[in-house]
């Protein structure tokens, strides 16, 4: 294992501290229990809280700020955060309109947020994201996994919440965006959980894992490396099979890197995916390319398609000011 580490046990706290210092104009960090909140507490809105295992940065800490989340709870690497973190974060950001948890669909995350919700005294609701079409069931899930599409849910609901919309309305939009969003990923290499010290899975120099999860969980199949256009065709095909968009549908196309693949290749993937989607009659009017939902140092990428309508597009376009997404202000 070759990583920048002092002591494995200190990695998370040191990384969070660095993140909070680098973005001190946007976030504040609380350690033990670990959570991040906006530098300036918002008022008169539903408090949006997300969280999950670390190792997927900038998800979710990088999306705390005006126009997106009010708080994020980072767990240990690839391990769900715990209810005490969520309760403390909720107490810090709740401002009278209730708390909405946005949770990726993994058994651990769902159970920990569920226990926190049972202990919360304020009004609360939960949106569970499940955009990964690769597999119905995976290492940690009951049902589809929540992956990069979660960023779109957090952005769109984040914008709606800023308008003062109530809890039920925020939850309903989050669930609608989740239903209209589908993703699938592919890995070229494994990743190494720092505390484990060795790669999570073995993969040959000329192999890829089609449909991989963001923790290096297995996907649909192991196969031989092929040209990028062929790989993209498989990903796009699986996504369209799931979403079944009507011809002429308007969509946001996201190409997400797992962190070990250069931007140069991500744009190549975007080029291939957009071309293919245009041929299938999909009108791509919004895009997002970069490392937004990563998997430690894994090489690979995922493609996400979100079917837009006027409301979703308007909230996507609305101003956002976070460490990882900033526009319109």
């Amino acid at each position: 294992m070759k990583k920048f580490i002092n002591q494995v046990d200190d990695l998370l706290a040191e990384s969070l501290s660095g993140f909070a210092s680098a973005h001190r104009d946007i976030v504040r960090l609380n350690l033990d229990p670990n959570y991040l909140v906006r530098a300036e507490k918002a008022q008169n809105k539903v408090a949006l809280i997300s969280g999950g295992g670390s190792g997927h940065e900038p998800l979710h800490s990088g999306f705390v700020g005006v126009g997106m989340l009010d708080a994020a709870c980072p767990g240990h690497v690839f391990t769900s955060p715990t209810p005490d973190q969520m309760l403390a974060a909720a107490e810090a950001v709740e401002c009278g309109k209730g708390v909405l948890f946005i949770v990726k669909n993994y058994a651990g995350d769902v159970m920990n947020f569920e226990m926190a919700a049972e202990m919360l005294s304020c009004e609360h609701a939960t949106v569970i994201t499940s955009d990964d079409v690769a597999v119905e069931n995976s290492t940690y899930t009951t049902g589809r996994r929540g992956v990069a599409g979660t960023v779109i849910v957090e952005k769109v609901v984040g914008s709606l919440a800023e308008t003062g919309a109530d809890l039920a309305t925020c939850k309903a939009l989050g669930e609608r965006v989740n239903r209209r969003t589908a993703s699938m990923g592919v890995a070229l290499t494994s990743c190494t959980v720092p505390a484990a010290g060795r790669p999570t899975f073995d993969i040959g120099a000329d192999e890829l894992e089609m449909g991989v999860g963001i923790h290096g969980e297995p996907g649909r199949r192991r196969e031989a490396l092929r040209c990028a256009d062929d790989i993209v065709a498989d990903l796009v095909h699986a996504i369209l099979e799931d979403l079944k968009p009507a011809p002429g549908s308007e969509a946001l196309l996201m190409v997400n890197g797992f962190s070990g693949t250069p931007l140069m290749e991500l744009y190549l993937l975007y080029h291939a995916a957009e071309k293919l989607l245009k041929q299938r009659g999909i009108n791509i009017t919004r895009s997002l390319v970069g490392d937004y939902t990563t998997s430690l140092e894994m090489a690979g990428a995922s493609i996400t398609l979100c079917l837009l309508d006027d409301e979703i597009r308007r909230h996507w376009d609305a101003p956002v000011h976070t460490a990882a997404l900033r526009w319109g202000r």
Partner: protein, 206 residues
Amino acid sequence: MNTDFILQAAEAVNAAILAHEPEIESLDRAIGDGDHFINMKRGCATVAAMRAELAELSPDAALQKVGMKLLSTIGGASGPLIGSFFIAMGKAGKEAETLPQIAAAFAAGVEAIKLRGKADVGEKTMLDVLIPVAQTFTRLANEGCARDELLRTIKREAEQGVLATRDMIATKGRAAFLGERAVGHIDPGAKSSQVIICAVCDLALV
């Protein structure tokens, strides 16, 4: 139940989990993602370090305190499941003195895992050890089985439960998607549960 036994059990469990590191790690790498042992180790070390604060408590309060602590230290899927077990066992174990009462408290803990995880026996999880153990524990205790005989039978039940997961197709928990690919592998969560149960039984048998 007495608090002193709970403290000794915490140390015995911590030692047993550490002693089984290679085995649990390799099982988890095969059909999980390799973090199960790290999480169990963190949980066991935390409880072993609670000696002073637990010593003052009644056994049921100590179990509940352990549950709350595990809930905030393990994380992942194991945290809520194992935390719920101890909280529920503590609640059900108020003034539990006799073997049937302790068995009922243990069974209440296992029931809490079933409810939280929405899982049951036969799904290739820790419940394939815990449910048969709870049933056997309750039955033997109510039949008035001798203590040492009961403990030895529970150990055998736990070992059989682990082996049974080898041929199961997972429908819940970490190995669920692997489907056929997980057949032939023992479930790491079932293994760590068996290690813990055997460590506690061995302590009681001495």
